[in-house]
Structure formats: structure tokens, C-alpha cells
């Protein structure tokens, strides 16, 4: 009997013991056991060992004390629904995830981070992507300004600390790599290769660690050509995932048309509803449709704060300040902010496969670019909201500006804490950094040393997290510089598409893949 047959027999013996064989198989195996003295002994031992171990397990279970966690869990869940802005409090909470679990590679991370930060730093100099708010004549609220309770020495000290930490933040980003990110991560040109192999994709990923063309190639491969996306949308056999994936390669009205068909058949598909709202937001004339779409988003994913931030942006665009602030207040009470990066990566892979790309290649290229669209979307959303806040600040409406800036900071925290991809987490950090930047200006304007002191602590947290991010990227790069074969990279894409990239090393370890050996 060869090893495979022996394993099969052993598997069946255990299945027989557990009563998991169907009657015919059980009778056949029982007859085989009865016919052989060796098998009878083997089976008797197994029965005996099972009985002993069952008894031992029962003995253990009977001695473990019972617990009642109901109140503690319900209290904790209530707490998670009310995110706090105090970074020092957040630091005491159990870590939601290991921030050292990121994948893009140190250089690429720094590059994207620099890009994001540059986006925010350039707010005052760049064109806006949305209409500025209608100027609203209102009185400033001097009464809302906190009393200046600190001495000049205190103010000087906290301001100095704050500046030092902001320098650290910029330094952490600048020194974590020298690569320059693609200025625009959206594919604009046809891929150099129409049908990349796994080797091509891995080579582009390696190249993407330090230079722009590698990442651009990956992004191009991960996106369908317009004609192909429209062709897929016409296919009667296309699944909802394929249709959503196809729509993600389109923009505005074309994407909306496909997504409307999807949500018409599956109104509970939260990702499709979200993508539909996004596609409306890309078309200025679709503002009424976007506004009408927002309540649907609230309903299909009620714990996701992102739809409320989107509503706030839309209402600010329409000059409905009270409506916007109300949406922001609700957003801040919700436990998560997800742009559906995991679902999006999966849909893209399905659409690529349906378009003819081989499965392994489609899944790998989708996995390696997952989260980048969401990074861009989340940073844009934060940036747009901050712009409106700055307008109110310019009008000396500090209270409204403060509400908006603090809400953006919460958005960053929610994204960071609930993200499944490193790119989302990076977006969370960048959004928080941008909010802190404008809050510093605001607190300085209203002379609030307490506010500035709080920002100092929060900046410390962000600097620490960006450093961990950099360490993770370094480790992740090892995966792609190693001499892994197709099985290895298929495993990588499988894990990323199933769980996101932030937990990939945990899962690799569970599979017995020694990551340290790759370094």
C-alpha cells in the first residue's frame, strides 16, 4: 500500500470513528477491519484513544470556570460606536490590528504617503474638484472661543512641541524612502503588455518598490479598457461582481448605468450602491441623483460612516451647512468607515477574468493594486471637506470650521482602525495628518493652547504609526524579492483577496510559510 492509500485508509478510520461515513462506506470499511487482525488492533486502539481523550477533554471543560461577558461586550460595542478624538485614550485601547502589517513596500508607501501629503499641503494652491460652498453670511462666534487659560510660557512650550512633532511626521515620511509616486494613480495609457504573465506582474511589483513605471503598469493591468468594460456590461452571463468590476474601470454616467442595473437586481449590494454614489459624484450634473442615493447607502450599510461624510460634502456643496454638520455628527458616532476595498479588489479580479485574463494573473494584479483607488477616494473626500472648513475659517466662523476639521480627523481614525488594506490605513493616517495641520491653524487663531497640546499627542501617535507602516512595507517587499514560484504568488493573491493585506503575514505563518526565511 503506498503512502496515499495509507493516508486515505487512516482518514477513513477516523471518519468511521466519528460516524462521518455513509452507511455503505462504513459497512465496507468495517468488513475490511474485521478481515484483518492488524486493522482490528489499529481500530481498537483508535477507539480506546478517542474515549480517553474525550474523557480528558470533558474533565478539563468541567473544571474551567464559567464567565459572563455580556455586559462587558455590550459596553465595549457601545464605546466603539462613539470614537473619541483623544489620541491618548485611543492608545489605551487594545490595538485593532498590528500596524506593522502592510504590503506595498517601504519606498512605494513613502511615495504614496508623500503624494497624499502633497495633495493636502497643496490645498491652497490647487484647483478644487468640487464647487466651493455658497458664501453664507453669518456672525462669527467669538463666544465659542475657549478662554486662554495658559501662560505665555505654556503656550510657547506646547507650540514648540507641536512643531517638533510635525517635523518628525514629515521626516518620517521623507526618510522612509526616496521614490516618487506616480502623480496620478489612475491608468491613462494602454498597458505595455496586453497579457502579462505572473512573472511580468511580479517584476512590475518589484519595480514599483522604487519607481513610478512599475506601479503604473500594475494599475493599467488591473483596469479594463473602456470598450472591454462596456462589452462585459452587455453580456447576459455577467455576474453582479463582474458588472461592478467593469463599472470600476469606467467613470461617471457610463459606470452609473451599469451599476443601476446591478442595484436594480440586488438592492442590498452595499458595494454596488456605494460605487453608484461615487459615480454620481464624478458627474456634476448628477448631484440630485447622488443626494437621492445617499439614504440608500445609509440603509444598506448603517454602521459605515462614509456615506454620511459623502452626504456632508454634498450638502456643503449645496450650501446646506446645518444639514452637513448634522451628517458629520452622525458620521462621528459610527464604528467604521469603509470604501469597500476588499469587495472592490474581488470584483476587479472577476471582471478581469471575465475579460479573458488568466485567473492567476487577474487575481494577483488585483491583489497588488487593492486599496489604491480607495486611498485616492478617501484622501479626496478628506481634502474636499477640509477645503470647506477653511472657507468657514476664513470667514472667522471658527465653530463650524472646527466641527468640520474634527470630523475629518475622526474620518481618518475610523478609516485607519477599520481598514483591511495598508493603502486604506495610509489614507487614514494622511487624512488625520491633514486635519491636524488645519486644526493647528485654527487653535492658533482662537488661541487654544489646550487644543494645540492635544494635537501634539495625536501627532505623536501618527508619527509612531507611520514608522510602523514603513517597517511593515520593508517586510512586505521581501515577499516580492524572494524567489517564490507561481504557487507562492497564488497564495499571496488568495490571502490578500480574502482578507486584505494587513493580516497577510499572520495567515502565511498559519500556512507554515516562514516569512523570516525570505528576508
Amino acid at each position: 500500500m503506498n503512502t496515499g492509500d495509507l493516508d486515505k485508509l487512516h482518514e477513513e478510520l477516523v471518519a468511521l470513528l466519528e460516524g462521518q461515513l455513509d452507511p455503505e462506506e462504513a459497512d465496507r470499511l468495517q468488513a475490511r477491519i474485521n478481515a484483518s487482525e492488524e486493522y482490528r488492533r489499529e481500530y481498537a486502539w483508535l477507539q480506546s484513544a478517542y474515549a480517553d481523550l474525550d474523557a480528558m477533554g470533558a474533565a478539563f471543560a468541567s473544571r474551567v470556570p464559567e464567565v459572563d461577558l455580556t455586559d462587558a461586550v455590550l459596553r465595549a460595542v457601545t464605546h466603539t460606536k462613539r470614537p473619541t478624538l483623544a489620541a491618548s485614550t485611543r492608545a489605551q485601547a487594545p490595538p485593532r490590528r498590528n500596524p506593522a502589517r502592510m504590503w506595498m513596500g517601504l519606498a512605494a508607501a513613502a511615495a504614496v504617503a508623500l503624494m497624499g501629503y502633497a495633495v493636502f499641503r497643496g490645498i491652497r494652491d490647487t484647483d478644487r474638484t468640487v464647487t466651493p460652498p455658497t458664501p453664507v453670511a453669518r456672525d462669527p462666534h467669538p463666544s465659542a472661543r475657549p478662554e486662554n487659560s495658559g501662560s505665555d510660557a505654556d503656550r510657547l512650550r506646547v507650540a514648540t512641541q507641536r512643531r517638533e512633532f510635525m517635523k518628525e511626521w514629515e521626516h518620517a515620511k521623507e526618510t522612509s524612502g526616496t521614490a516618487v509616486a506616480p502623480p496620478e494613480m489612475t491608468p491613462t495609457q494602454p498597458p505595455e503588455l496586453a497579457n502579462p504573465t505572473l512573472d511580468d506582474i511580479v517584476a512590475a511589483r518589484r519595480e514599483g518598490m522604487g519607481t513610478e513605471p512599475g506601479m503604473n503598469r500594475l494599475m493599467q493591468w488591473a483596469s479594463l479598457k473602456r470598450e472591454k468594460a462596456l462589452e462585459l456590461a452587455q453580456s447576459p452571463d455577467a455576474s453582479p461582481q463582474v458588472l461592478v468590476g467593469a463599472a470600476e474601470s469606467l467613470t461617471g454616467g457610463e459606470a452609473a448605468q451599469i451599476l443601476l442595473a446591478v442595484v436594480g437586481q440586488a438592492p442590498g449590494n452595499a458595494q454596488a450602491q456605494f460605487e453608484l454614489a461615487k459615480s454620481y459624484s464624478e458627474t456634476p450634473e448628477a448631484e440630485p441623483e447622488e443626494l437621492a442615493q445617499i439614504p440608500t447607502l445609509h440603509n444598506v450599510d448603517p454602521e459605515n460612516a462614509l456615506s454620511y461624510y459623502m452626504e456632508a460634502r454634498l450638502r456643503l456643496q449645496q450650501g446646506d451647512v446645518e444639514g452637513a454638520l448634522e451628517a458629520l455628527r452622525i458620521a462621528r458616532t459610527l464604528p467604521e468607515a469603509s470604501a469597500y476595498a476588499l469587495e472592490s479588489a474581488f470584483s476587479k479580479a472577476e471582471a478581469l477574468i471575465a475579460s479573458g485574463m488568466p485567473k492567476d494573473e487577474a487575481r494577483l494584479v488585483s491583489a497588488l493594486t487593492a486599496g489604491i483607488d480607495q486611498y485616492n477616494f478617501l484622501c479626496d473626500l478628506g481634502k474636499n471637506l477640509i477645503e470647506y472648513g477653511q472657507d468657514f475659517m476664513a470667514e472667522q466662523d471658527y465653530e463650524t470650521a472646527r466641527e468640520i476639521f474634527e470630523a475629518v480627523q475622526t474620518l481618518g481614525q475610523q478609516v485607519e482602525e477599520t481598514s483591511q488594506f495598508s493603502q486604506e490605513q495610509l489614507a487614514g493616517l494622511d487624512v488625520q495628518a491633514a486635519a491636524i495641520d488645519v486644526l493647528e491653524e485654527l487653535y492658533t487663531a482662537i488661541e487654544s493652547p489646550e487644543g494645540i497640546a492635544q494635537l501634539t499627542t495625536q501627532t505623536q501617535d501618527i508619527v509612531a504609526n507611520i514608522e510602523k507602516l514603513g517597517a511593515f512595507f520593508t517586510t512586505l517587499d521581501q515577499l516580492f524579492t524572494s524567489e517564490g514560484g507561481s504557487d507562492f504568488f497564488n497564495t499571496i493573491s488568495e490571502l490578500i483577496l480574502r482578507n486584505g493585506d494587513l493580516t497577510i503575514f499572520d495567515y502565511l505563518a498559519e500556512l507554515g510559510i516562514d516569512v523570516s526565511a525570505l528576508q
Binding site: 477533554g57 470556570p65 460595542v77
Partner: protein, 184 residues
């Protein structure tokens, strides 16, 4: 879980009541400390709540939640640089009380009627000789009474592979057991 996914307010409390002791005991196997096991179990339910929209209704809840608990515990052990899945010999003979103190197993408990003390000790020593992965399988099968299909889901394997693995483990236990018996 279906009710929780639909937003029923008291569904989480019901889920906690139903599964809390299973999950707590499961976490205790890994972290070997009552308070830490409680924390891990509590955090597991928070993760369940946060991820409820992503729960696949086609899957069974128990393996899913235990998979979350397992990942949390393994991460916690890594973070604390502790050695996971300590000796099952200790599991077999001890547990800890509410305050964390070690509870010795009763020598003449009714639940031990199936095994003589000597036989139990020998088996416990044999269990202690297993590697971590094997101990985890034994824990899931005999201490958590999970079927092979659920174990496979938790450890990321197949049902058949788990059964084959169980057979190998039992065979190695037999070898240790026989060797000990011969030396008596």
C-alpha cells in the same frame, strides 16, 4: 447571527450568552490565563459585531467565530512573545479559577471514571510531547469537541487532511504510551 446582521439590537447579547463559555475556554487553551482569555473572548465578540455585515450566512457561525478567536490569540501571543499552546499535560490536570489561581483536578472526579489515574497521566505525558500544531488539533477535537470539518475551517486545511493528521497524532501518542509502559 442572522438577527444581528439584520440589526436586531439584542441579538449580540444573545450570541454572547450562547457562545461566551465556548470561546473563553478556547482562548484559555492559547493564552493560559483566565483574565487574558476573557479579554480575548470579549474582543472576539467585538470583532464579530464589527464584521457582522461581512459574515457569510452560508457558513456555520461557531467555526467562524473560533477562527477569529484563534487569530486574535495567536496575535496576542506573538505580541507578548509568549509560547503558544503550552503543555496539554497541564491542561489535563489543571485549570484556573476566576481569580486566576490554578485549580488542581479532582483525583476522583466522576468525569474521570473512564480512565485510571495512571493511564491519564501517561496519556497526558504523551500529549505533552506533541508539537504545537498537533496539540492544537487535539485541543480542537477533544477539548472543544469540534468535528473535522470545523477544525479544517479554523486551521485553514481540509477535512480529510485533519482526519489523517488526527490519525498520525494518535499513532504517535500510542508510540509514546507504549514506550512509557515498557519502561515501567
Amino acid at each position: 447571527m442572522a438577527l444581528l446582521c439584520q440589526g436586531a439590537a439584542d441579538a449580540l447579547g444573545d450570541l454572547v450568552k450562547r457562545y461566551q463559555n465556548d470561546i473563553f475556554r478556547f482562548c484559555l487553551h492559547y493564552v493560559r490565563d483566565v483574565e487574558r482569555a476573557k479579554e480575548m473572548a470579549q474582543e472576539t465578540f467585538i470583532r464579530v459585531y464589527v464584521a457582522r455585515a461581512r459574515f457569510d450566512a452560508q457558513r456555520k457561525f461557531r467555526p467562524w467565530v473560533l477562527c477569529i478567536a484563534r487569530n486574535l490569540c495567536l496575535n496576542e501571543l506573538k505580541r507578548k512573545k509568549a509560547v503558544p499552546m503550552e503543555s496539554l499535560e497541564e491542561y489535563a490536570s489543571t485549570a484556573r479559577g476566576e481569580s486566576g489561581e490554578v485549580l488542581q483536578s479532582p483525583a476522583d472526579g466522576a468525569d474521570q471514571s473512564l480512565m485510571s489515574a495512571e493511564r491519564q497521566e501517561m496519556l497526558a505525558r504523551a500529549l505533552a510531547s506533541l508539537d504545537e500544531e498537533s496539540r492544537e488539533i487535539v485541543t480542537l477535537r477533544f477539548f472543544e469537541r469540534m468535528p473535522a470539518r470545523d477544525i479544517a475551517e479554523i486551521v485553514g486545511s481540509t477535512e480529510g487532511a485533519v482526519r489523517t493528521r488526527l490519525h498520525r497524532i494518535l499513532k504517535s501518542l500510542r508510540d509514546v504510551y507504549i514506550s512509557e509502559k515498557d519502561n515501567l
